[in-house]
Amino acid sequence: MSSRIEILNDGGFRSDGRRQYELREMTFDMAEQAGADGSASVAHGLTQVRVSVFGPREAKMRSQTIHDRANINVEVGIAPFSTGDRRKRSKGDKRILEFASTIKSTFEPVIQTALYPRSQIDIFVHVLQQDGGVLQACINATTLALANAGVPLLDFVCAVTGGVHAAAPMLDLTTLEENDLPHVTVAVMPRTGRVTLVSMETRLHVDRFEEILRLAGQAGGVIHKEMRAVVRERTKGLVDAMGAGVRTSDFAEDAMVADS
């Protein structure tokens, strides 16, 4: 069915009305989830992911503690209703295990684990809706959730998917496009502009790969701006709330002075 839909039409528009380099609407929500130390939900178009972070805390199993740094534990759950074909994936599915280990190894060097010896940081990833770019959404959500939990990070990690359709590179693919095109997920660390994750599973010519890698690097910078704005706003809200507390006590003192 998908072959009948034009991926990129003559006017330069994609099947959902976007241009080649246009990203889908992004929603970053850092609202606190009760119980978790930090959480974030991220939506890229219809793809929606929620990540909760617990810790740094004492490890449940003593065998998992590492004497000089924190152990990071990532668990990924994919909701059965997140895709078109409702399929239950078992916890031991190799694809999900690989997905979790990809997220884990991406964040291991970014989190300053040496500050928390003998402790554990749990990252629970829930994929609620899938419409392409699941890895990208999971990585962006994990960055925000960790920031929300107050875990010290060396830098943001901003991920984006890119694909190539008949020599025309495109960004932020939907499921429809992912099924038809070779695609790459790239995660960048915006401070240095270096890539920390590159993941590709489909066949692509080396020259095209080069093009898409550079493009995705730039797009990562754009996503970083959005993410940073959300983190700043959230922090500002928290600081204001703290200030508000101080101010009320100031008022109380003023009132007392006025009374006497």
Partner: protein, 293 residues
């Protein structure tokens, strides 16, 4: 019980030699260990050694009913297991270890997802009979870079394998044994090779990942190098300059230029490997030919 991690002197020695672009086994930085392929009596039986890493791959085919959703396609399944035989590192517990997951996913991506084997050519009678290829990978010894060795063994086994010739007349399927008709090779679209680079953060700052100097990249890491590396980059590509798998998760961050230079090295290596594998498979087939008078 896992053996203790490399000792501090071992680690420091390795890092200090890498500074001088030297490797403990005398190789250049982008030099692979000698690759050796030994073919068995049977078709599709390959013993692949990369230095002291050794993997055995075996292909067999049988006729089955196709999957209802894909009536015109044959079935390929890849089975791999890392037993404690390969290295005392691996334990035979119930849960698959991280290495095992990585290996089986890499094999799946290199052999199945990249469409290396033409699956439609494995169809005998649409909706009724197709070939089911079973590739079994036995990891015999792990002296580093098991991933590349296993992928190589798997692909070469598929190149070496030949299935019996079948004849279809109406609904009647006749299988000709190798003694009466020469078995036919599988139709392969391309041969992807997996190449793994180990990345070492430049000295002075093994912990500081945001340093500006370029990291040291090694091709085909040995066991010690693999264990001490701060990240790996796995590429799978064919001689036609097509990348099939790129997998780099975490570790030292690289600039896009550094990634691309690794890709360019891999392109050269893939071409060399293709030539060598092609020659070896041909040579073996020539030996197996029996003249019938």
């Amino acid at each position: 019980m896992r053996p203790p991690s490399p000792s501090i002197p071992e680690k420091e020695f390795l890092f200090s030699t890498l500074e001088k672009s030297l490797r403990l086994d005398g190789r250049g930085l982008i030099e692979m260990r000698p690759l050796e392929l030994t073919f068995g009596e049977e078709l599709g039986h390959v013993d692949c050694t990369l230095g002291k890493t050794r993997v055995l791959a075996q292909v067999d085919a049988k006729m089955v009913r196709p999957l209802p959703e894909r009536p015109f396609e044959g079935i390929i399944s890849v089975h791999s297991e890392i037993s404690p035989m390969a290295s005392p590192e691996y334990e035979s517990t119930g849960r698959p270890s991280d290495e095992e997951v990585a290996l089986s996913r890499m094999l799946d991506k290199v052999i199945r997802r990249s469409d290396a084997v033409d699956r439609e050519a494995l169809c005998i009678l649409a909706g009724q009979r197709v070939w089911h290829l079973r590739l079994t990978i036995h990891c015999l010894s792990d002296a580093g870079n098991l991933l590349d060795c296993a992928c190589m063994a798997g692909m070469v086994a598929l190149r070496h394998f030949r299935r019996p010739d079948v004849e279809v007349i109406g609904d009647e399927v006749t299988v000709h044994p190798p003694s009466s008709r020469a078995p036919v090779p599988l139709s392969l679209h391309h041969t992807p090779f997996s190449l793994t680079f180990a990345l070492f953060a430049p000295s002075s700052s093994h912990t500081n990942i945001s340093s500006q100097t370029a990291p040291i990249t090694l091709l085909d890491p040995s066991l010690l190098e693999q264990r001490l590396a701060s990240g790996t980059l796995s590429l799978a590509l064919n001689a036609q300059r097509e990348l099939c798998v790129v997998h780099k998760a975490g570790g030292v961050p690289l600039t896009p230029e550094e990634v691309l230079s690794a890709v360019n090295i891999a392109v050269q290596k893939a071409k060399e490997l293709e030539k060598m594998v092609d020659a070896r498979v041909r040579e073996d087939w020539a030996m197996k030919k029996i003249e019938v008078r």
